[in-house]
Every structure is written in C-alpha cells, then in structure tokens.
C-alpha cells in the first residue's frame, strides 16, 4: 500500500503551559476532501498551524511517508502543503496579479495551475487584476487567498473557515470551487465550524473536541449521529 498523502499521528501542541492538542490522529488521502469540524477553541486551527510548522508540534506528521513535523513553515509549504488562513491575509498594498505571483514558489516552473486558470474560475478577479487587493470585497479576498495558494501547486490545501462572513451565494460559489479543485487532484482539509458546506462537499469528516478527534465517519454517518452532533457541534 502506498503511503497516505497526509498522516497525522498523536499530535500534541502547547501554547505556553496550556496543552491545546492532546494526541490528534487523522489522515487525508490523495484528492480527498476531508472536513475537520468542531466548536471554537477545540484546537482546529492549532492543528493546521502545527502541521504547517507555525506552532511547534510534538508527535508525527508524515507527508507521503516523509516525516515533516517541526520543519519551518516555508519548507512545509515547499513540500506541497498549502494553507488558507481564516484571516485571509491578502497583501493589501499589492495588486491582485502581484498577490497571485507571490503564490508561486521560488524556482518553480510549470505548476498545475496558471494565472489564466484562476481568472477562468473567477472572472471577477480578472476584471480587477490590477486593483490593489485591499479594495476587494470579503468574498473576492477569500477567492484570491485560495487562488494564491493554488498558484504554489500544493498537493493538499488546508482551508480555515472559508465561508466565514460570506453571503449564501458566495458560500455556494466557494463550495463549487473546492469541489472543482479536488476533482483536479488536489486534496483539501476543510476546517469548519458550521456543518452546512462540510456535510455537502466532504468525502470524510472528523469532529474535534477538547484537543482530540472524537468522531470519524462519512457525512451520512455524521448526519445520523445525533448524540455526537449535540455533544460536540451544536451550540
């Protein structure tokens, strides 16, 4: 059996003295959309940050069998992990086009995605290619962040709450895009608080509670697991 795309094994992380992640174990396969759900503060974002190397991890993180735990963020990114933060973090003073250019990794030619692909998926971005990214709307900024990460040709994109603060129409749009990205062979780890989009597009789901994985299953299984939803997800 070939090694899994991403395999996280007994991951622990700390902020100062507080123990945030207490042995998180999960995996993502090639081309899969995996949802990582949970209420605020259970450690979803910390999990991604620990994988990227922004928070020092303890435990094992393997990308296609290669141990990457503890690498600095720029090396994790070069190994093929992409991160779309909840805060979006577009570069407001640069134009849309320049933002996309910075998504390309140094010394890399002929990635899977070109700027034309991005503009094809999001005609709005093409119209505003020379606009400063700071002037884009929230939805446009979200698209730009996703596109910017894709420009680096990642094998796995980890997306933190992509639908936060977007209009229902925009949420639909983002969901379609994520589906499209996965069909092109890029795996997605979708971190969400709300069930809606995650249930719709994920192939498999994990639910987190108190720094651990408390549920693993398909969207259908989670839909029927009322007790899990009540205890760990619903407010």
């Amino acid at each position: 059996m070939p090694p899994r795309l991403l395999e996280v094994d007994n991951l622990n992380a700390y902020y100062g003295k507080s123990h945030i992640l207490r042995g998180v174990t999960f995996h993502v396969d090639e081309g899969e959309i995996v949802g990582l759900l949970g209420r605020n503060g259970v450690g979803r974002s910390t999990t991604i940050k620990a994988i990227m190397g922004n928070v020092p991890p303890r435990g094992s993180i393997r990308l296609r069998g290669e141990e990457i735990a503890g690498l600095p963020p720029y090396q994790t990114a070069r190994k093929g992990l992409g991160y779309v933060p909840e805060t979006r973090d577009i570069f407001p003073g640069l134009t849309v086009k320049q933002n996309l250019q910075l998504g390309e990794k140094p010394g890399e030619v002929g990635g899977r995605w070109t700027m034309e692909d991005m503009f094809g998926m999001f005609p709005q971005l093409k119209d505003r290619a020379d606009t400063r990214a700071g002037f884009l709307s929230g939805g446009e900024q979200q698209m730009l962040t996703i596109c910017r990460t894709l420009m680096g040709d990642p094998s796995l994109v980890m997306i933190d709450e992509p639908t936060e603060g977007l209009s229902p129409m925009m949420v639909e749009h983002v969901a379609r895009l994520l589906d499209e990205i996965a069909k092109r062979g890029v795996a997605i780890l979708l971190v969400e608080q709300k069930l809606t989009i995650a249930l719709k597009i994920s192939h498999r789901l994990y639910v987190m509670g108190h720094g651990k994985i408390v549920f693993e299953g398909t969207p259908a299984e989670l839909s029927s697991a009322d007790a899990i939803r009540k205890e760990w997800l619903e407010v």
């Binding site: 720029y74 973090d89 407001p92 003073g93 910075l102 990794k105």
Partner: protein, 311 residues
C-alpha cells in the same frame, strides 16, 4: 535672501536624503521583524570609519564601494547569528540586544581609531566649487553627496516595486507569516533586508564622513533624529520616512539660518512676560526642532504622517 533660500534648500534636501538613507532601512526592518534597531546609526558610523580606513590605504573611490558592502556583511552576520537567536526570547530581548550592540560598536571604534575625530577627506578630484551664487560658493562634494543619495533612492524604489524580491519584501512588511507559508524563505529575506539596510546606512556614513565629522560620537548624535524621522513618518511606512526625512532636513537647515528671535518679529508688541524666552533665536532652537515636530505630530496624528499602525 535668495542665496539664503537656495543654499538652505539644497543643504536641507541633502541632509534629508542622508537621513532617508538610514531611515529607510530602519523602518523596513521595523515593520518586517518588529525590531526597533538601536544599532542602526552605528552602522552609519562603521561606514564612515571603514570608508576612512580604505581611503587612507587605496583611495576614496574603492572605499565608496567596499565600505558599504563590508557594513552590509556585518549587518547580515548580526542578524543571522545574533538577532535570529535572540528573536525567540521576545521583543524586549531584541531591543536590549540592539541597544547593547550600539555600545559594543562604539567602544570598538574607539579602541581601533581612538576617541578623537579622524581626518577623513573627500577625493581631491571633487575638491572644487560647483557653482557660485552672489558671493557664496557651493562645494562640488556636496553636489556629489546629493547625487549619490538620489541615485540610491531611485535604485531602492525600483528594487522594491519592480522585482520579485521587492514584492516579497512588501508583502512581508504586513504579513511575514503568510509569506513564509507560501514557501518563501522569510528568515533569509530578513537577513537580506537587515544587511541591505546596514549597507545603506554604511553608504550614508561613507559619503557623510568627509563632510561632517567622523568621530566615535557620530552614532549617538544621529540616532535619536532617526527615530524621530520614522515616528513622524509613521512606523513602517517608506513613503512616510521619505517625507519626514526631507521635512526634518529642511526644517533644521532653515532654522539654523534664521538668526532672529521672536522678540524681534513682534517688536514692541512682544508679550511682556517670559522676557528671556522671546529672545532665544530660531537658530538656537534648531536642534530642538525635530523633537518639537515629533511632539506635534504625536498629538495631532499618533500614527505618524503616513502610518497606519497604532503601536
């Protein structure tokens, strides 16, 4: 009057451009790494002394090229083996580190070159009068300083806005973590910017050394003004640093040239109280001017002229 305005304006712009050569590096380093580099003016002093030493052995022109490169290398090493290690201990440690470094550099300069000013001179080929207006002359060396400063400004601007590294630096000014997560080696960019900033300060030192005085106190004299420049301009704003440099350069030069007091302006209508205060000439106030400007800007616009950040 015309000659006073012309020469003060020229000198003011020149002084302002010199300030900008240092403030630009300082403000870039601050917004990228969050480090207020107290040793920045020391790199300027190192530039002057390196320039002096090289010009004494092989001439001024090689010094103009080599000294900034050497200072840049020192800066890059300081970042790589000093600041980067201190970084994980937090901002206070970084501040203390650069603060201590300023003292170390000053002491070392005194040990090698002594406490007295050294005899650093410009090249004989620039030892002529550039132009004459009425009965006052303007030295060619000052015109040379001005052109070096302007050339540096153009190159810096082109690098930052036209090259990929420049784009990465601009992006890292606001979001260094995000830039790293796109696969760019941010620690190396930090080292590069720190080294380039030090080299720019060094270049300022090389060309200012012969015109001003090359002495161990030159860093301490200039350092505070630099901080005024970047705070007035807005921390982290390059445009702001440019405007503030010119503003302070002109303000100080014009103030020095104005040899009259408020009492003379008001004549007999001058208020009768605080008699001595009104008799202080504007020229005497010149050294305080930047700080008065600093206080005014902080009252009216705490983020600085072009700054966006609150802290």
């Amino acid at each position: 009057m015309l000659q006073l305005i012309t020469f003060s304006a020229l000198n003011g712009v020149l002084y302002g451009m010199l300030l900008f050569m240092m403030a630009s590096g300082l403000t870039l380093i601050f917004s990228m790494m969050g480090v207020l580099n107290f040793a920045h003016a020391s790199f300027y002093m190192l530039g002057a002394y390196f320039g002096f030493e090289i010009s004494r052995r092989i001439g001024f022109w090689p010094g103009l090229v080599l000294a900034p490169l050497l200072v840049g290398a020192v800066g890059a090493l300081v970042e790589r083996y000093g600041l980067r290690r201190v970084h994980r201990l937090g901002h206070v440690s970084e501040l203390l580190f650069t603060f201590g470094l300023a003292f170390v550099i000053e002491e070392m300069v005194q040990m090698v070159w002594g406490k007295l000013p050294v005899d650093y001179r410009g090249p004989p080929s620039l030892d002529f009068v550039a132009f004459r207006l009425f009965d006052t002359t303007y030295p060619a060396y000052r015109m040379f300083m001005l052109s070096v400063a302007v050339a540096m400004f153009v190159v810096l601007l082109a690098l930052l806005t036209r090259t990929r590294v420049g784009l990465i630096i601009q992006a890292a000014l606001t979001h260094p973590d995000m830039v790293a997560m796109l696969g760019h080696n941010v620690p190396r960019i930090f080292m590069l910017v720190f080294g380039a900033g030090a080299a720019l300060a060094g270049l300022a030192g090389v060309i200012a050394g012969p015109a001003l005085v090359t002495q161990p106190a030159m860093a301490t004299l200039l350092g505070p003004i630099l901080f005024v420049v970047i705070v007035v301009g807005g921390l982290g704003s390059l445009t702001g640093a440019f405007v503030a440099s010119l503003l302070i350069g002109l303000l100080q030069t014009f103030a020095v040239a104005m040899n009259f007091s408020l009492a003379e302006v008001f004549g007999p209508t001058a208020p009768p109280f605080l008699d001595d205060l009104w008799r202080v000439t504007i020229a005497q106030l010149a050294p305080v001017m930047p700080y008065i400007l600093l206080v005014l800007v902080l009252i009216v616009r705490p983020t600085g002229l072009m700054g966006t950040r609150e802290s």
